[in-house]
């Protein structure tokens, strides 16, 4: 859907509508959505909130924390201690106000996305601004998890803000944001190297004219050190706040060991419900390493355009991470709007869109047949997650192809491009 809407013919020259007006209108429409009955229905939906991001579990953890019970002593609370402290102290705790907060965070994310776009195009404003914000705010993969108050929406906002800083070359805020993000969701560590690369190069589009990495790789070292310092500081403060190291196996450990097999739209849970226990450690290792093997090839291939490398890796993390929600692939799909230069080179955008349409309809349907109606079983939902994975895979492959293909130039009659 995202692909389609953004490839429309160029609209007449700059509309006079101010971007801030458009953004506020969009956010207002989103706020109106939260006032419907939807948030209560969606709150504990497995596709919108995983055990690591569910609002209900966050509230339970806060309740335990406020009543002097270590929330990490049981197996239910898997949020970071930083979320725990924030929501137990400064941030509101009632679902109504949180709905507003979450929606405003989405608005902030959309704003950051537009800032990234402007930084990449090196303009102060453009006519696409409103479209980009709309593609983010009205992507169902983005707004449904927000309505369900999944903390993955907050992670998306954080991701966009840190990318904005990185695109503007502001290293320290970007690295601090990344440290927070990795702290909240360990799988995001995959994004470390393209972001370090981005901080060392520029944010402009060099997809059409690839060149070897201009700067020395050694410049990365101080940045990496800075990131490690931030990350350790966050880990230390988490330990101080929660009064021990019990949070580590419950939060980061969960990403690696997959103790909670609650169904989600990802690929891990079904596999590990079926597997024999003595194979479990091996396949946990395989699934984790699988996420990491993409880093180096993608960074090498897109060394001329680190923002694009980040974008591709975001798609890969969203498709293959341990506890995904719909908002993870949603961020990737919405970010496609940042790269209009690749649209003419997309190979099968309609197939990808149709796959996503099928997955988007099948996921809730099969989930309902299995868990509400009782006429289906786990295989139904698993099958729909496979369709979803195919859709995500198709989107990633298409973007990867288009990002590389653009360098060869416009297609010429009588010539074909072949990959060796």
């Amino acid at each position: 859907m995202t692909l389609m809407s953004s490839s429309k013919t160029p609209s007449p020259p700059a509309s006079t509508l101010n971007f801030s007006v458009v953004l506020s209108a969009l956010v207002a429409a989103r706020v109106a959505l939260t006032l419907t009955g939807l948030p209560d229905v969606l709150r504990d939906d497995h596709q919108l909130a995983s055990p690591l991001t569910s609002f209900s579990q966050l509230q339970e953890g806060i309740y335990l924390f406020n009543h002097g019970v270590d929330p990490y002593s049981g197996g239910t609370f898997r949020h970071s201690p930083l979320f725990l402290t924030l929501f137990a102290t400064i941030l509101p705790n009632s679902p109504r106000i949180c709905s507003l907060l979450w929606t405003l965070c989405d608005g902030l994310g959309a704003w950051a996305l537009v800032q990234i776009w402007r930084a990449r195009q090196n303009v102060t404003s453009s006519e696409r601004d409103g479209l980009i914000a709309a593609v983010y705010l009205f992507n169902p993969y983005i707004f449904l998890p927000t309505l369900a108050l999944s903390t993955s929406s907050l992670e998306n906002t954080l991701m966009l803000i840190l990318l904005m800083f990185a695109a503007r070359g502001k290293a320290s805020p970007a690295l601090l944001g990344l440290a927070f993000l990795v702290h909240f969701s360990l799988s995001s560590i995959v994004l470390l190297s393209p972001i370090l690369l981005l901080l060392n190069t520029d944010q402009f589009s060099h997809l059409a004219s690839p060149r070897p990495l201009a700067t020395s790789i050694r410049k990365v070292v101080p940045l990496l050190g800075e990131f490690v310092v931030y990350f350790c500081l966050l880990a230390l403060s988490s330990t101080l706040v929660s009064g021990g190291f019990a949070w580590i196996p419950q939060t980061w450990g969960a990403t690696l060991m997959l103790p909670d097999l609650t169904p989600n739209p990802g690929l891990w849970w079904y596999f590990f419900t079926e597997i024999f226990d003595h194979f479990r450690p091996f396949f946990l290792m395989v699934f984790t390493v699988h996420l990491l093997i993409y880093i180096v090839p993608v960074c090498i291939k897109f060394q001329h355009d680190a923002l694009y490398a980040t974008f591709i890796l975001l798609g890969i993390v969203g498709a293959f991470k341990a506890y995904p929600t719909l908002s993870d692939p949603g961020l990737f799909l919405s970010m496609i709007s940042l790269f209009p230069e690749i649209y003419p080179y997309l190979r099968h955008p309609i197939v990808t869109s149709l796959l996503h349409l099928h997955a988007f309809l099948l996921l809730p349907l099969f989930h309902h047949l299995w868990l509400n109606q009782g006429t289906g079983n786990a295989n139904f939902f698993y099958a729909s997650t496979l369709v979803f994975a195919c859709a995500n895979g198709a989107a990633i492959i298409d973007c990867l192809w288009a990002g590389l293909r653009i360098a060869i130039g416009k297609p010429v009659e009588g010539y074909s491009i072949v990959q060796e």
Binding site: M4, S5, K8, I350, P411
Partner: protein
Amino acid sequence: MEAEEANQGPRWKQSISRLRQKFKGGANANVARLRRRKAMISSLTRRLPFFKFALFVVGYIWMLAIPSPRLGRGTYIDENALQPSQVNTYWNWGDVHAADRYLEQLEALRDVNSTSEQRAHFLETEFKKLGLPASTQNYNFSSSAGLITGTNAYALLGSPRGAGTEAMVISASWLSRTGEGDGTLNLRGISTVLALAGFLKRYSLWAKDIVFVISDGYLDGMHAWLSEYHGSTHKNLQSDPVELTSGVIWTALNIDYPGHSFSHLGVFFEGLNGRLPNQDLLNSFQRISRNTGHVPVTVYDHIDPREAPQKVEGLVSNLPKILQDNPEIQAFSYQAKNVARHIGYQARGRASGVHGLFHEYRIDAITIFAIPATGPHGFHAIGRIVESTLRTMNNLLERLHASFFFFILTDHDRFMKIGNYLPSAVLISIAMMIQGLQTWVRAGWKGEDETKLNEKQDGSSGVTPTQQPKRRPVGRALAIMTVAHLVGLVVFTALTQRLFIENIQLLAPIMFILLATIPFIMANTIGDTGPLSLVLKSFNLCLASTVISIITVLNFSLASSLAVFLGIPLSITSSSSSILTRVIKTALYSMLGFGWLLLGHREILSAVHDWEVLQVWFAPFVCLVYVPLALQALTVCVL
């Protein structure tokens, strides 16, 4: 490798190099690969129309073949715990006498035109006389058609052997399902439930609570009772809480016995929104009825014409004598009647009886319908059958799960598995998808007209979308689709207004005309056509295909109806320059899409009632999915 090959004899070498040439394609492997790919694509594209046609034909023939006695298989019991028809029954003439006494009192109540409260009060008293805790429940529904009120009565038999965490329900509604609740009373069904309450209480073998429910009205009473029992709220339902509650209800039997006596027991099983109960329940009942009660079972109230050869009716009566006597044709026509009835209920999401309300709460339930006849069976047979069925349900250790939830019952003892009927609709949706993708490719070419297209297909260069690419007006097509869906929303909102329901004779034709003009307005505002018509057609086909293939799992009858109504019509939409063809096309597509506004006033009323009272999503589905698809098809034609 090279050295080794060189050492071989010249014939070896030759053949190997030949082989290698074949695979690598001589000097430049990539050129060969490209050629191969192009040849493959062009041969595929050339065969695509045939392939698509074949998919349509196979899909439709498959649909027609569903009632065939050669497809499908016999039913069987899957759950070992059920052990149907393995017990001695104790229901006897004394209990039949009790049922007769209850019937007399109920007939007296009927004759004095008693109100709902009086009846419910009477039933409550009778249950209490038997020593069962009993209560009543008032309810009222407000819908755009008016207010529905009534009073249910129910009683609880606590399990002597269990913790009361599970329950079975035996119910009877005040109105029989004859004519979908046209006013025929179900007095004998209620008498059976009352007599059973007294009878069942005497035995200590129940491991589950038994709840007796006498619901008022046809569907509304049980809907109110079930909603309160499960604590689900509906905004147009006000009802008293259910005071006496038991555990989780696993299974339910609804007894419908409107006539004086009966010859067959008919089984009704379709629930709201096309849900079906587990097939084990149907099969157990069928087996018990035959073996314990010695009563033949049929599907619905369709008595097999082969049992009474002198009365030939329906499809067969128009055929020559020699074909009428063909057993296969007889079987096909009977089973076709059953399948058509099934599709009629399931596609519209309508419950075929009071049992259909239970499915929403994950309770497997059926209605036992005593088909009115002059004999030979009565209270004695039905009592024994219900007793034995309850014993079977009592044996369950977990919810019914083993047998099929997705099936088409072609006869009382024959059915089709999901894998045998589902592909028919899916094949049609695949054909539509292929057509949609083909149209998408066509829309991306500079040369639009067919002759140029054919030249390209025949040419050696084959078909590649990158050749002479053209921008497709995707945004405008999506805008039209959004408008079409918004129109659907407006139609739905209008249908549920009281004003519309009261003046349906006048307002429905007006709405029809408005809907038919909307595509012209859209076409005029957009102006420049270009490939927009093609892009819109492509999107419309892809969306319709997606909807059909996804709905198959939820409600096959609805999906196959959509496949029949939309499959070919959506595939052959095209814009035309001649005014006459345009007018004809507009008329045809308007009738296809919105003809129900002119012809189906009763259907509209019942669909809106079902939505407002029972949350059947057929009405919103038609307005929000079907109407937009038809609108888009119409827009394609007028662009």
